[in-house]
């Protein structure tokens, strides 16, 4: 086992052990659920998907806060920073094994939840944040943010709470910022012609009229009474504005670029902080 991995394991064996154990358990459950038929589609499926969404943020933050804040709080930073060739190198050696282990756990989990979604309800809106490589991206963002917050606050518990809040806000903010792009990718599909193809997002339910080019034109009928409205809507075709599954890889590339930028900036800021501050 390489020395940095051994050091990471010895310093955070509880956290890493729990990460690996819960990741493997969740992956196994996600793989087994589709074979249970109806029983695997209900609440159990939702619990697995919600844990896949929350787990990377939680473990990334718990592991990241331990890198700088725990060392400072325990007073060991004084020794390890003095012994290290440079603080930048120390940070790199402390961080990469955790990132590697986290990614190695998150990639199979993301693949298992993607398979779970595809097999149990392929036509559902498939929540890109809970499947595929995005699970690993969320872990890396949470890790980098927690390392930065830990370096800034230098206390484990407040740092952990702030890191979880910041990462959650960042991930929600990214999702909201991508909404205009998703709206641009959306296509109109008549409700009756809805296929079992995957859908990234359902923008809205609406009513439309056939257009001259073979497509659809959204229409909102003007009516004064309920009876008048019902008659007006009967003449229209119910449609959905959806983002088709093919947009997933573009969305992944955009989120990947944002995640890479966040991780780079967070690590650069961490280096800036720990280079200047003397250990307490």
């Amino acid at each position: 086992m390489p020395t940095p991995v051994r050091i990471a394991w010895r310093l955070q064996r509880w956290e890493l052990g729990l990460l690996v154990a819960s990741g493997v358990a969740l992956t196994a459950v996600a793989l087994v659920l589709p074979s249970l038929g109806e029983a695997g589609i209900g609440d159990q499926r939702m619990v697995v998907l919600l844990l896949t969404l929350a787990g990377p943020v939680l473990f990334g933050s718990a592991l990241g806060i331990g890198v700088v804040a725990a060392e400072v709080e325990r007073g060991t930073a004084r020794i390890s920073w003095a012994l290290a060739r440079s603080r930048l190198r120390w940070l790199w050696i402390r961080s990469w094994p955790i990132a590697l282990i986290g990614v190695l756990v998150a990639i199979p989990l993301g693949a298992a939840t993607a398979r779970l979604m595809d097999l149990t309800s392929p036509s559902d809106i498939f929540m890109p944040q809970m499947r595929g490589p995005m699970v690993a991206l969320h872990f890396l963002v949470a890790l980098a943010m927690a390392v930065l917050v830990g370096a800034a606050i230098r206390h484990v518990l407040p740092g952990l709470l702030v890191a979880i809040a910041l990462t959650t806000a960042l991930l929600i903010g990214t999702t909201l910022a991508l909404q205009p792009w998703l709206r641009d990718q959306a296509v109109l599909v008549p409700f009756a012609e809805r296929s079992s193809d995957a859908v990234i997002a359902l923008i809205e339910h609406a009513h439309a009229l056939p257009a001259a080019d073979g497509g659809w034109t959204l229409t909102e009928p003007q009516c004064a009474s309920q009876v008048e409205c019902m008659t007006a809507y009967e003449a229209l075709t119910p449609v959905m504005r959806i983002v088709p599954g093919e947009a997933y890889w573009t969305l992944l590339a955009i989120e990947g670029a944002i995640a890479a930028a966040v991780v780079t900036l967070a690590m650069a800021a961490t280096v800036g902080i720990i280079r200047r501050w003397g250990p307490r």
């Binding site: 955070q12 729990l18 473990f59 806060i65 407040p158």
Partner: protein
């Protein structure tokens, strides 16, 4: 107030976080409650709002905000006690202050009681305030119904008992593990398991009976619905799936026209009526508080035996 000052000095971030979350959610809940109740003041007037008559009175106007607030309360039910409970012992062990504090205290048990009691009081005050506000919010959202089992576990007494159990379980896990971050992670896993267990156990506290009248409606608050069957004309009960197949066959035999209602199997809904919520709450609370006492005993036993390394 020395104990309160000492508790705050030892755990400023935990208590600050708990106060911010609980009081913030309580204020949000009470504000939404008063806003919804103010709408109903116009009931009985010539132009009374739609909210005066329908079950989902505030679904369109307040639904989103109420849902977000209730989700926050559900998370805080488990999150706040863990943040308060887990660090009590883990910080002392991790920072090695237990090595000084335990030999100096005459009895470790007494030391534990003095460390836990202030936090428990603070937690009960904060969580109790949030639970009261969440209860008001749940009742205001369904102004025309007995809310019965709706939002059980995320309001009122059930919220306080669950939080108390998680606080004591967090202290016990902290004593066993001795490290804060792993203690928090394991406690979060335990809270997920506990929430799932209590949810699954809810229909078991009382035996289900046949629901009648408005309680058989699929939507809306009130009773705890545990299952559905179909009753044949001769009084025999068959499963829901068999009943649906039989109904479909009768329609097909009749050429798609509704058959004689006397021949159709009648749906029977099983569950626990809303007025029996108090009994269920009492039984669950007794078990949860009993589990909290066991967890407290476990924490005390571990602290008595543990080496303060």
């Amino acid at each position: 107030m020395t104990w309160a000052r000492l508790a705050f000095r030892l755990q400023p971030s935990s208590i600050g976080f708990a106060a911010f979350v609980c009081l913030g959610l309580a204020v949000a809940s009470l504000w939404l409650t008063s806003d919804m109740r103010s709408v109903l003041e116009a009931c009985g007037m010539p132009d009374e709002p739609k909210a005066c008559t329908v079950i989902y009175a505030f679904q369109d106007t307040h639904g989103q905000a109420v849902m977000m607030t209730q989700m926050g309360v559900s998370l805080a039910t488990y999150g706040v006690p863990l943040v308060l409970g887990v660090p009590i012992l883990t910080r002392e062990i991790e920072l090695r202050t237990a090595m000084i504090a335990w030999p100096l205290a005459g009895s470790r048990l007494k030391w534990l009681v003095w460390r836990v009691l202030p936090i428990l009081v603070v937690a009960l005050i904060l969580v109790g305030t949030m639970a009261f506000a969440a209860e008001q919010l749940a009742q205001a959202y369904f102004p025309h119904s007995d809310i019965g089992f709706d939002r059980h576990g995320s309001r009122g007494i059930s919220l306080v008992t669950r939080s108390a159990l998680m606080l004591v379980a967090g202290i016990a896990l902290g004593a066993i593990i001795g490290r804060m971050l792993p203690g928090l992670l394991v406690s979060i896993g335990l809270s997920v398991a506990l929430s799932a267990f209590l949810g699954a156990a809810l229909p078991q506290w009382l035996s289900s009976t046949v629901l009648t009248g408005p309680e058989t409606e699929i939507f809306g608050p009130g009773p705890l619905r545990t299952g559905a069957q179909y009753r044949l004309a001769d009084g025999r009960l068959i499963s829901a799936q068999e009943g649906e197949i039989l109904t479909q066959e009768l329609y097909e035999e009749n050429g798609g026209v509704e058959p004689d209602p006397a021949l159709l199997p009648q749906q029977v809904i099983f569950g626990i009526a809303a007025e029996r919520y108090g009994e269920v709450l009492a039984r669950e609370s007794a078990v949860v508080l009993g589990a909290a006492a066991v967890a407290g005993g476990l924490a005390a036993a571990v602290v008595r035996r543990r080496r303060p390394e």
